[in-house]
Symmetry: C2
Amino acid sequence: VTGVTATQPRRSGDDARASARDGHEGDFLDAYDPRAFPPVAVTVDIVTLTVRQGRLNVLLVRRGTHPFRGYWALPGGFVTAGEDLDAAAARELTEEAGIPATSAHLEQLRSYGAPDRDPRMRVVSVAYLALAPDLPRPVAGTDADDARFFDVEDLQEAQPSPLAFDHHQILTEAVERARSKLEYTNLATTFLEEPFTIADLRRIYEAIWGHPLHPANFRRKVLSTPGLVAPTGQERATGRGWADLYRRGTTTTLHPALLRTRN
Amino acid sequence: VTGVTATQPRRSGDDARASARDGHEGDFLDAYDPRAFPPVAVTVDIVTLTVRQGRLNVLLVRRGTHPFRGYWALPGGFVTAGEDLDAAAARELTEEAGIPATSAHLEQLRSYGAPDRDPRMRVVSVAYLALAPDLPRPVAGTDADDARFFDVEDLQEAQPSPLAFDHHQILTEAVERARSKLEYTNLATTFLEEPFTIADLRRIYEAIWGHPLHPANFRRKVLSTPGLVAPTGQERATGRGWADLYRRGTTTTLHPALLRTRN
DNA sequence: GGAATAGTGTCTTTTAGACATTATCAA
DNA sequence: TTGATAATGTCTAAAAGACACTATTCC
């Protein structure tokens, strides 16, 4: 006996017009009627971006089950009962990606709900974008072959895509969001451990925007943008001279913006 | 007999580790097991913005049922079986807001899924932003007292909020998205019927950004931004002189951006 | 005439972008 | 020495922002 059937929301009598309008259906009250809504599962999928050796990377896990067995997928899972979407994303980031939620920036991207995106049933996935420094990761319960970082550019050029479901599209939109957010926020600093040099920060921008930046002009722009970075007064030997060290600034929204231009 | 219970996703045996990782649970195959996922309803809620008499307005409908009976809410409703999220939003825009989907810009905002946001059951709402010109609306099946436009600024200042659920927060984030999008896209033109004058366009920016703009500088910026507007060669009597008429340009992303500054 | 608006022109300040220069250290 | 990088300085072009001015029309 299956209590859930793929019917349209049920409406009845006097309440039909009101419920068509109020957006939350009126024919159940404090309890819910399981026949009143189509069966849907809600999951979160995490696009975890980091910069390794000057290249933008994304964390993927290998699928061991049908469908897309053997394909690579974004880590994710069910939103459990009583759990907020953000909390589910933070939990999956820790459990599946092995990244402590405190060391990463996590924000909602958008939701994906094409009816046929999962062949088993209707699944609406809330995609999240996580930005993390290139930490030595203590991946809990997964060996290196089942969860690892991939070069984003390589992934996007691969034909056919090795990604399961619509994760190729989600990845593309996540990367575009990250590129855009570097312009007007200080999120580039979340890819770095403190303290860092201006050149470290520049290499983050170069990796994510995908083209080289003019070192001198970049330095001037960063230092003239209030609140992006704060000097520590210390220096680090870089191999070729000494570089000043900085910490993250306190401003999250940049004025003026660091526009994504050629230089 | 209720087939849906509020349990965590079920896992079994060998598949437990894999399904904990692959994000889409592996213990059902081509069919779904209704006990394998928590019961959730997915709805869309539409923030329909328009500019009337120089003020930013939003379309709300009055709730006739529990909970929040008598409160005002964003139009919306269930995502039906087999229906894409975007399609559900377009359908609700037409059915509930009485706005033909062709005359509005519609884009996904983000999803809201706090466990207690609807007291009846778990509801994840995918919020959409709709931008429309101030059309004479043929609202189907709703009389003027049940669906009408509200001044956004008045709504946001009202204490306590007359909005149901978490719709106050959704509205706030929608308005901020609209403000931001006017900077780097030509979406301001979707608030206008063609043809329009530069002053018409300026009044849209002023209404949404909430402060006056310098007419001469605004004109120069708009005309020097490639692809924002296209001249029609015609003029319109405005009461004080004659104003050149324009159509929407073909470029959706503006270079340089029309930055949201004081002037 | 006075007030309001459309449209054009001009000037200053700020920012972007290109490029030169010096210092330091590795190979 | 040569090459690479950090840091600073300088110059030009583009854009933002402030303001002056003319023309038109309503009151």
